[in-house]
């Protein structure tokens, strides 16, 4: 049952997002005045890159990115080990995010801005459109990393001195803690919509950020998903007598 306050909030959200998109249009026009080059364009690129990098890192950390690219027709079928590396090795994650953004930025400039692919009427904000460009680039970058890893591993195998003893794939002591394994089980059990939201919440992202990261309409909506997930979990625990 939706209250009048909720409806009011949604209307405010919609108004806010329209206002932001109108400003996006203004920003685009301002950048066009300088042929999408020069100091101000670089400033815009910097902020877009920071945003894109942060979003890609979060998406990779939770593995959500694989769902997004698969839904666009690029299933990457990451192995458990690959997911584990992206989850725990922030340098690997940062490198991949950085490369993806670096390749996506000129494409975005050419197609979305100069080519007019992005429009106010299209319904997406500039940053969302940019993330679309990143998702388009990501599979190639991921495969490149994968190929490099394979090559390195092959070289290491050939050179006995370089071979380190096989380490436990779950090397993070925190992950080995029983409580965390339980958390992971619970996340896996959450629905498709709740799963990334719960995972990102545990990673310490704010509700505003999660709304941004998952394309959920608003922070309020994220809060709602979390509320319903918590209520369900609480119910389950009571049933199982925990």
């Amino acid at each position: 049952m939706r209250s009048a306050a909720d409806a009011n909030g949604d209307a405010r959200m919609l108004e806010e997002s329209l206002r932001r998109r109108a400003a996006d249009q203004q920003l685009r026009d301002e950048l066009a005045r300088h042929d999408f080059s020069g100091r101000r364009y670089r400033r815009f690129e910097e902020e877009l890159a920071r945003y894109g990098t942060a979003v890609l890192r979060a998406w990779m950390h939770s593995g959500y990115i694989f769902r997004l690219v698969a839904s666009r027709g690029f299933p990457l079928y990451p192995s458990a080990a690959e997911l584990d590396v992206l989850c725990h090795d922030h340098e690997a994650r940062d490198d991949l995010a950085n490369m993806t953004v670096a390749v996506a930025l000129p494409r975005f400039r050419k197609h979305a801005l100069i080519g007019g692919g992005w429009t106010y009427e299209g319904g997406a904000s500039l940053p969302t459109y940019f993330m679309g460009a990143c998702l388009y680039v990501f599979p190639n970058e991921f495969r490149r990393c994968r190929a490099q890893d394979e090559k390195r591993k092959r070289q290491d195998r050939l050179d006995p001195a370089m071979t380190v003893p096989e380490s436990d794939p779950v090397h993070d002591p925190a992950v080995q803690a029983v409580g965390n394994i339980h958390v992971l089980e619970r996340i896996a059990a959450a629905g498709r919509r709740a799963r990334p939201i719960v995972a990102l919440t545990i990673d310490g992202y704010s509700q505003e950020e999660i709304a941004e990261l998952t394309g959920t309409q608003s922070a309020r909506a994220v809060e709602g998903v979390l509320y319903r997930w918590r209520a369900r979990e609480k119910g389950l625990r009571e049933v199982s007598g925990e």
Partner: protein, 510 residues
């Protein structure tokens, strides 16, 4: 100062617009803040030709480069603690504090100077093949930590710039050890206010992946190549061959020469093609890069041969200088290569390269003077002296030296044309050439004249008993006094174009 204030206001408005846009929404802003951005001066470098060296000397090279860079940073006043240096392959990236306002040009200029002199010092002690040659790219912008090194659009831009093909070519073509290339906005923001160094625009070809757009290049010790709008094309191997010393091209500095060639369009003419038509309104000049042209002017009796010009000479400058119709017809002899430079390009060029202007003026006035000399000679000197002089000059300027002290002139000139050059009637020319042949001075053949003995031919320049006349080496003569005055009375870099209102040269027959 007001322009700067306006700029800052504009910047503030832009930042506000960024925050109002979707990037400024609470979630997006918080996400951005997770990636801290630091403003830095980015210095990327790469060692030219290092890939060709084997592993062992490459280590040595890297070590030397690291030493040169460290001392240059020190000389430029960058404390060791305030810089981060990352080695990547044959080059690397240094992040320096971005500094504030007035210090930035000074930091960059003193860094470039320190690096240039450091490279010279190190290279002095090295064999030519071991000398260090460095490409340097500069940019200012935000940098964030990304995995194993710094990341961000500025990092990407500076890496692309240092690797751009035409930046490599510039260093390849230069005699120096360093090429510095900066992004367009760094140049506009900072270096345009440091006029003591001449940066020239150097476009990065847009077909290069993720081209960082226009850039500015500086070759210390040499004037940078001026490349309006587009990239340096692959250099024509012919342009790298030596230019005849006496020609205009030979008298320009390598930088001005490259600029002049780059300012124009490469064109080719077949035998008998007309480059310039007498009476036409001129809008361009030609720099001859290969082959030869004949210059003729109409008289009542028909076309008279005025001169021949070849590689390195400038054609069509009179009409450009005074805006009058072309004074002569220029026709290709065989295949002729040239670079066509429009009037606008030429005046832009002389603005950017003020040193080129006196050289061009000198070449114009020297040609004028040679016409005057010839006219004077036609009164005071005998037909034999005049013809000997013309052959002597042609042999000196265009002849190929033969080992026995002679020279071969490969010029498809008829005897009549040779006579016209000397102001000698056809019948007299034929008689005199026969005399020269008999005296074993010259040999004539199809499209060539062989001078058997330059020294004896030189003797014929002076009639017995007459005062010895120095050999007319027109291109090396000083310009007539009036011209020189006109040039020197104005500061050369403020000369308007056209610089000197020259009167139209008259035909020697007039």
């Amino acid at each position: 100062v007001t322009a700067n204030q306006d700029d800052r206001d504009e910047d503030a408005r832009f930042e506000a617009l960024l925050e109002q846009s979707s990037l400024g929404a609470p979630g997006a802003r918080q996400l951005r803040e997770r990636v801290p951005l630091a403003r830095k001066l980015l210095v990327a470098w790469d060692v030219q030709g290092l890939a060709r060296l084997s592993a062992r000397p490459a280590d040595k090279v890297q070590e030397r480069v690291a030493g040169v860079l460290a001392s240059a940073f020190g000389e430029a006043g960058v404390a060791p603690g305030s810089r981060e240096v990352y080695q990547q392959g044959d080059g690397g990236l240094a992040l320096l504090p971005a500094g504030n306002g007035a210090d930035r040009p000074r930091l960059i200029i003193s860094l470039i100077d320190a690096l240039d002199s450091g490279l010279r010092r190190v290279n002095e002690a090295l064999a030519p093949s071991a000398r260090l040659r460095l490409r340097l790219a500069l940019e200012e912008g935000g940098v964030y930590q990304a995995g194993h090194g710094p990341g961000g659009p500025s990092v990407a831009a500076v890496s692309r710039l240092v690797d751009a093909a035409n930046v490599r070519n510039m260093l390849e073509d230069s005699s120096g050890y360093l090429v510095v290339v900066v992004t367009d906005h760094l140049y506009r923001d900072i270096l345009a206010y440091a006029p003591e160094r001449t940066f020239a625009r150097a476009g990065i070809p847009s077909k290069e992946k993720g081209s960082p757009g226009p850039a500015w290049a500086y070759l210390p010790g040499e004037r940078a190549a001026h490349v309006p709008g587009t990239a340096l094309r692959a250099p024509d191997p012919r342009d790298r061959a030596a230019w005849p010393e006496a020609s205009l091209m030979g008298s320009l500095t390598p930088g001005d020469r490259a600029a002049l060639l780059a300012a124009g369009t490469r064109v080719q003419f077949s035998d008998h093609d007309i480059l310039v038509m007498e009476g036409d309104v001129g809008d361009a000049v030609y720099v001859l890069t290969g082959g030869m042209v004949k210059i003729t002017a109409g008289t009542e009796a028909g076309a008279a041969m005025l001169a021949v010009r070849s590689r390195g000479d400038l054609i069509g400058k009179f009409a450009i200088l005074n805006g009058m119709p072309r004074t002569a017809t220029v026709r290709a002899v065989g295949t002729v290569g040239a670079v066509r430079v429009t009037m606008e390009r030429l005046s832009a060029l002389t603005e950017a390269h003020p040193d080129a202007l006196p050289a061009i003026t000198r070449s114009v006035t020297a040609k004028l003077r040679s016409e005057t000399e010839r006219r004077a000679a036609s009164r005071n000197r005998s037909a034999q002296e005049r013809l000997a002089q013309v052959i002597y000059d042609l042999a000196t300027e265009y002849g190929e030296k033969s080992p026995d002290g002679g020279a071969v002139i490969f010029l498809p000139l008829t005897q009549a044309e040779l006579g016209e050059l000397a102001g000698v009637a056809v019948a007299t020319t034929e008689r005199l050439l026969a005399e020269f042949r008999r005296d074993q001075l010259v040999q004539t053949g199809y499209r060539k004249i062989t001078v058997r003995d330059m020294a004896s031919l030189g003797d014929r320049l002076v009639a017995p008993g007459a005062r010895p006349t120095p050999v007319i080496r027109t291109d090396r003569l000083e310009a007539p006094v009036m011209m020189v005055d006109a040039v020197e009375s104005t500061s050369s870099d403020q000369l308007p174009w056209p610089p000197v209102p020259l009167s139209a040269p008259r035909s020697p027959r007039a």
